[in-house]
């Protein structure tokens, strides 16, 4: 186990290094000058040059990347060009919100998606099954911005069940998680359905029935843990998909997460923030995959970490 973790961590570090290099290179090639963004429109060419020099942006690529790596090793992600603060501080201040949202969203999509998939599989071929299938496609096809605003309008503005945006209590968390969860729920519902159908055909399910177990026990104790395995692997993949949607949801609900930070940084070529957020999200994805792999043996004892 420890050996496995050690190896995976080394691999993860290499992946992060690769991500940092590619990102840095792409940003370097980007034909948008961060210095102009900093300097503003009244700046004289001299001011622009001064700023460029101070940020070290006049150096060749390799030197810039090397400096970045060296300070990265000491945990320093640099200072934001536009926000003029430590990137670490900016990210740390926003990370809890994003993590919370991610946990909420994953819970939502698992609860909604898995139960939809489960019911559809158990009722395979019925109208319930078909209705759920259409519903899962609606979830996948609906633009998140609209879903978010709609939920907000109905449940916060009209019914006042939840606050209109903001951050703090669990009640703030519900609508944004739901918005993000609805998309993923569609995917999980489809996956769960097909893996559940497969499991329900297995011999051990027949054995369980032959023992005279109740339907609930068969589905939840015998079938579900087996069917959920491919879904666990999906959660690791999911984190990457979230990073795309999080910007929209965070801005609709005024959620102070790193999605908004990243979006503003991209708009204004704030390279240190883009780099920082990229690395953090890459780390999250790598970690998610690792966690998914580590959890798997607890669900299926046949799996050995190697």
């Amino acid at each position: 186990m420890i050996a496995y973790l050690g190896r995976r961590l080394i691999q993860s570090a290499l992946i992060l290094l690769g991500v940092s290099l590619i990102t840095f290179a792409l940003l370097y090639l980007l034909p948008a000058d961060p210095v102009r963004q900093i300097a503003g429109r009244s700046a004289t060419p001299q001011t622009v040059e001064n700023i460029r020099q101070q940020l070290g942006l006049d150096q060749p690529f390799v030197v810039q990347y090397w400096h970045y790596l060296v300070s990265l090793l000491s945990g320093d992600l640099g200072r934001s060009y536009i926000q003029r603060s430590e990137v670490t501080e900016l990210i740390v201040s926003r990370l809890p919100a994003t993590l919370l949202l991610m946990v909420g969203a994953i819970l939502c999509e698992l609860v909604i998606g898995l139960s939809m998939g489960l019911i559809a599989a158990v009722r395979r071929g019925t109208t319930t099954d078909q209705t759920l299938m259409v519903a899962s496609f609606v979830g996948v096809s609906a633009p998140q911005f609209v879903v978010g605003l709609l939920l907000l309008y109905v449940f916060a503005v009209r019914l006042s069940w939840f606050p209109i945006g903001g951050y703090g209590t669990w009640r703030h968390l519900v609508l944004p998680s739901l918005t993000m969860g609805i998309l993923g729920a569609g995917w999980y519902a489809r996956m769960m359905r097909s893996s559940m159908i497969d499991v329900l055909r297995q011999d051990y399910v027949r054995t369980a029935r032959a023992k005279g177990l109740a339907r609930g026990a068969i589905i939840f104790r015998h079938a579900l843990p087996n069917a959920i395995l491919p879904v666990i692997a999906m959660i690791g993949i999911d984190i990457g998909i979230f990073m795309g949607g999080i910007v929209v949801v965070e801005s609709v609900f005024g959620w102070p997460g790193i999605g908004q930070l990243a979006w503003q940084a991209i708009q204004r070529v704030d390279i240190p923030i883009i780099m920082g957020v990229t690395l953090v999200s890459a780390f999250a994805i790598v970690l998610g995959n690792l966690l998914a792999d580590i959890v798997a043996p607890f669900i299926d004892p046949r799996i050995k970490l190697r």
């Binding site: 948008a32 102009r36 001011t47 603060s85 945006g165 005024g254 908004q260 708009q267 070529v269």
Partner: protein, 522 residues
């Protein structure tokens, strides 16, 4: 000292929302829509404007004197003004603040505004630490020596970049001063939760007795404008900082109760299309004039729900120097075609129109595209992120046409010169500059310098005339096609009090925090 609104009530707290983050509250650096007037409430400069107007008045300065040659400005400072940390502000602080903002290490985007102060070039080049043209005569007197007469200098003393900061606090926080601002302003920073909330509280020692009226202002960050409006309608907030989103505009204006809470005002803003004068076929003035005539500005104004007035010259109507008599190029498709034919393009030509990608800019670009198509010009649209458009504009071969919306923001100060230098003068027509039409007329540069050397306030009208003439001449060359001047529509909660012009204050955006008040206290 101007009078305080007699109806104003003391106390209360309001909430304002913004979509984008507040980057910094350092007056030497902050240059965004959101932080611009926040900084104005935390810090003060030697000069300021009368609330709700563009009229200059002394602020931290009690009075000032201008030498007859217009090259020496002497300011007498107000006594007993205290920083939020309790120390009294003196002339040394003024000098320190200006040395700091011009020092390249500060990386201030506003350093260029101080180019007329003696010794600026040395400081900017890193050869000197201190501006030789700023002299502390005594703790309450500071003297500025300029290299040339500068009529805009009083405005420069009013912009955020020249606001006074206490040295000890700047040194204490170093690069993080922007997160721990300490000034002399009406409010002081009480709380800053990154990415969520900024809270200002009343500065009880503010030198201007009776101000501010509010005890507390909470800025909530990261809220989608449309959601902010929903919250306003529910009474949760007082001012949506990003205004009324287009999708909600009709709804608000259709309801008399809500419409009554909307304040409309002019804005120091012009939306225009730049044409790259160094690039064929826009190197031909006839083509540029034809474009000016081809654009149906009324239709575009309609598209943005009539929230603007059609423009015919670079300066907005509320700017001194605006030429009311100027007729510009009227919408005339036939004439535009004729001009194109004269220029050798009877069948039009193909080109590109760049625009920033936030609504309504791509829509406006499409309207312009259709208008150009009507005269034969096939413009393909490049709808890009702000940074990419700015990059393309600053590249001589980058962008034939750019729709300025979303990027050419409000003037830094209400003076006609502010629309010339960086965006129409030769100084801006350099790689990385903001003169995206690459229009450089040495003649006009000279005339502009001449106008700016008319320092005597008494000759203000004469100077405005000179500027009008400059802009009229520019329009003859037509490097731009001015499209409209945006109007400001600020919506407030029912409890907000104060004169309407405080809510469309030309310099305090979105509202003048120091002077507004709420009706539901006491």
């Amino acid at each position: 000292e101007d009078a305080v609104d007699p109806n104003a009530k003391q106390g209360g707290a309001i909430t304002i929302t913004y979509k984008d983050d507040v980057a910094t509250l350092d007056p030497a650096i902050g240059y965004d829509w959101q932080n611009w007037s926040m900084i104005k409430s935390l810090f003060d400069g030697l000069m300021d404007y009368e609330p709700g107007t563009t009229n200059l008045k002394p602020d931290l300065a009690e009075s000032y004197e201008i030498s007859p040659d217009g090259k020496t400005f002497t300011f007498k400072l107000r006594h007993g003004v205290k920083f939020h940390n309790g120390r009294e502000m003196t002339a040394d602080d003024v000098k320190y603040s200006l040395d700091r903002v011009t020092n390249p290490k500060t990386q201030s985007p506003g350093a260029g505004f101080f180019g007329s102060i003696k010794g600026y070039d040395e400081v900017a080049a890193g050869k000197a630490e201190s501006l030789s043209g700023v002299t502390v005569v005594d703790p309450y007197t500071v003297k500025f020596d300029l290299t040339r007469p500068d009529a805009t200098f009083l405005h420069v003393m009013a912009i955020n970049f020249s606001h006074v900061v206490p040295k000890e606090e700047v040194e204490k926080y170093g690069a993080d001063f922007g997160k721990h601002p300490v000034g002399t302003g009406a409010f002081k920073l009480a709380e800053w939760t990154l990415g969520q909330r900024i809270v200002f509280e009343r500065n009880p020692d503010y030198w201007h007795k009776g101000l501010p009226h509010l005890d507390k202002i909470t800025f909530e960050i990261g809220q989608e404008p449309i959601v902010a409006l929903l919250r306003l309608q529910k009474g949760e907030i007082d001012i949506p900082g990003d205004g009324i989103p287009p999708a909600k505009f009709q709804e608000v204006m259709a309801d008399p109760e809500q419409k009554a809470r909307v304040v409309v005002g002019g804005q120091l803003h012009t939306g225009y299309v730049t044409m790259n004068t160094t690039m064929a076929p826009f190197d031909n003035v006839k083509v540029r004039q034809a474009v000016n005539m081809a654009i149906n500005k009324d239709r575009i104004v309609q598209l943005i729900n009539n929230r603007a007035v059609p423009a015919n010259q670079p300066l907005p109507p509320s700017m001194p120097g605006y030429d009311k008599a100027f007729k510009g190029y009227a919408y005339d498709v036939a004439k535009a075609k004729a001009l194109l034919a004269e220029a050798g393009h009877p069948d039009g030509f193909e080109t590109q129109l760049f625009t920033m990608n936030t609504d309504p800019n791509p829509r406006i670009a499409q309207a312009i595209q259709q208008d150009l198509a009507a005269v034969g010009i096939k413009a393909s649209i490049q709808s890009l992120a702000q940074a990419n458009v700015i990059a393309a504009g600053g590249d001589k071969a980058g962008a034939p046409m750019i729709w300025s919306g979303g990027m050419a923001w409000i003037a830094d100060f209400p003076d006609p010169s502010n629309f010339y230098g960086p965006i129409l003068g030769c100084a801006g027509a350099v790689p990385g500059g903001w003169n995206w039409s690459w229009y450089c007329n040495k003649d006009l540069d000279a005339k502009a310098a001449e106008a700016d050397s008319v320092v005597d306030p008494a000759k203000g009208a004469e100077r405005d005339k000179m500027w009008s003439a400059i802009y009229d001449k520019i329009m003859e060359d037509a490097p731009w096609a001015p499209v409209f001047n945006e109007q400001r529509f600020t919506m407030k909660s029912p409890r907000m009090g104060g004169a309407d012009n405080l809510y469309v204050d030309p310099v305090h955006i979105p509202i003048n925090y120091d002077n507004v008040y709420v009706n539901d206290v006491q």
